[in-house]
């Protein structure tokens, strides 16, 4: 694997990681807002 490919892999991986964290936060956050702040 070339360093360039490694860098590309890392970027795409981080993008997906952000999506995963965002989905988790959205699911919990939405229920928190619905139940405690609405």
């Amino acid at each position: 694997m070339t360093p360039e490919q490694r860098r590309k892999n890392k970027i795409v991986g981080i993008v997906f990681l952000i999506i995963v964290v965002a989905l988790f936060a959205f699911t919990v956050g939405r229920q928190v807002i619905n139940i405690y702040f609405s």
Binding site: M1, F24, Q31, I35
Partner: protein, 535 residues
Amino acid sequence: MSSVTVDHVPGKAHDHSHDHGHAMPHGWRRWLFATNHKDIGTMYLIFSLTMLFEGGALALLLRTELFEPGLQFFQPELFNQFTTMHGLIMVFGAVMPAFVGFANWMIPLQIGASDMAFARMNNFSFWLLPVAAILLTASFFVPGGATAAGWTLYAPLTMQMGPGMDLAIFAIHIMGASSIMGAINIVVTILNMRAPGMTLMKMPMFCWTWLITAYLLIAVMPVLAAAITMVLTDRHFGTGFFNAAAGGDPVLYQHIFWFFGHPEVYIMILPAFGIVSAIVPAFARKQLFGYASMVYATASIAILSFIVWAHHMFTTGMPVTGQLYFMYATMLISIPTGVKVFNWVATMWRGSMTFETPMLFSVGFIFVFTIGGFTGLILSMAPIDIQVHDTYYVVAHFHYVLVAGSLFALFAGAYYWMPKWTGRMYDERLGKWHFWMSMISFNVTFFPMHFLGLAGMPRRYADYAAQFTDFHAIATVGAFWFGLSQLIFVWVIIKSYSGKGEPAPAKPWEAAEGLEWTVPSPAPFHTFETPPVVK
């Protein structure tokens, strides 16, 4: 695959026999610190087979109790623990890791990559699994035993469980993290590491189905993680997400769970479609009929899986308009699924078919999975579903999809690629015995459950009225027969791995297509260090 085959790969372009001894660790370090996709694939497969037997043993305990009416061996509380753990172990411990094992072994070989994109993360995502499995199994031995809330872990049952529930939540979190890491690895590998010339529409169907499955995993596993985190905070931190008395809503849990749960069903079946799509053309000696439509059908199934979750909840009292919407949306899924079944049959049509074990399991898959698909269509109709909800009809339906679907496809794939993994041909006679024993005993076990369900036998009950006795007795006999049949598979694997059997050529199936058949059997430790060129 759109007729891309290996013969387009120039001989010099791929590096298939350079087994670099300097880079191959030995002893326990090879496995504990494994970063090689083949080693990790093997570990996934061994782990999932072990879990299959653990989950299977629990199933046999359930069937033993259900052999005749009355309570013979287990109290209902323990029976419910067995039911729950059987489901959790089979879904998260057996079927999903088995497909990840196949992905690890085959995706780099099929796209001409040297390894997975994140080799160390691959190691971590595997080694999380035994930890989770130990937690889950150990939960039987904590006060109150394992969770008995069913694999769906519905609130408010989850609020009433002992510490076993917390262990299950922790285990599912760990397995979810493992799945997410595995999925990210697969997506990045497929998107970034394909050999030159291997365009997306030239990829084998197995890679396509896994690419789409990995997207599904990334989209829904965080939702499951969020749901069980909220269960955990409800249990221990005074929140009331799913507690009506605290302003929450137990039905909310079901919505969140099934937003994960329905795509999960496709996570467990799409890679199976990919395996069957590789095997049927190889043994029909024809190109896969309708490659592009197969890809679009897979994507359609995945997209539709996000908008049908509440068909699992028709009895929760949703408005009729809601029921209608979810009913029609669910029925839509039968269209792309029908496209797939049609394409497999059309591939076989006028083909020069032979029925070696992989093909037998694939044809068996098509036949029996279609029955499961049809009962799914029947269940999608709200008026019928309300009648048979939580009965054995549902149990029969999802076992037709998951056992005769996912598991049979896994067996098909194992026999198909075993020569590549072990370097030896498996014992064909034993393979055929395994197929016929499994096929017959599977139907003996699960077909009577349709009748039980239609007659009103509820699921997850340790006892039942005498009128259900005969069908339960037949199902129990079938279950033991099915369980024992799997020992043949273990024997086939042991024989193959211990070097018994004919040495396998690089391409043991004359009409098989794909880059994996260009490397020797067994596949060397390092493959495609120089990427092949696909034209």
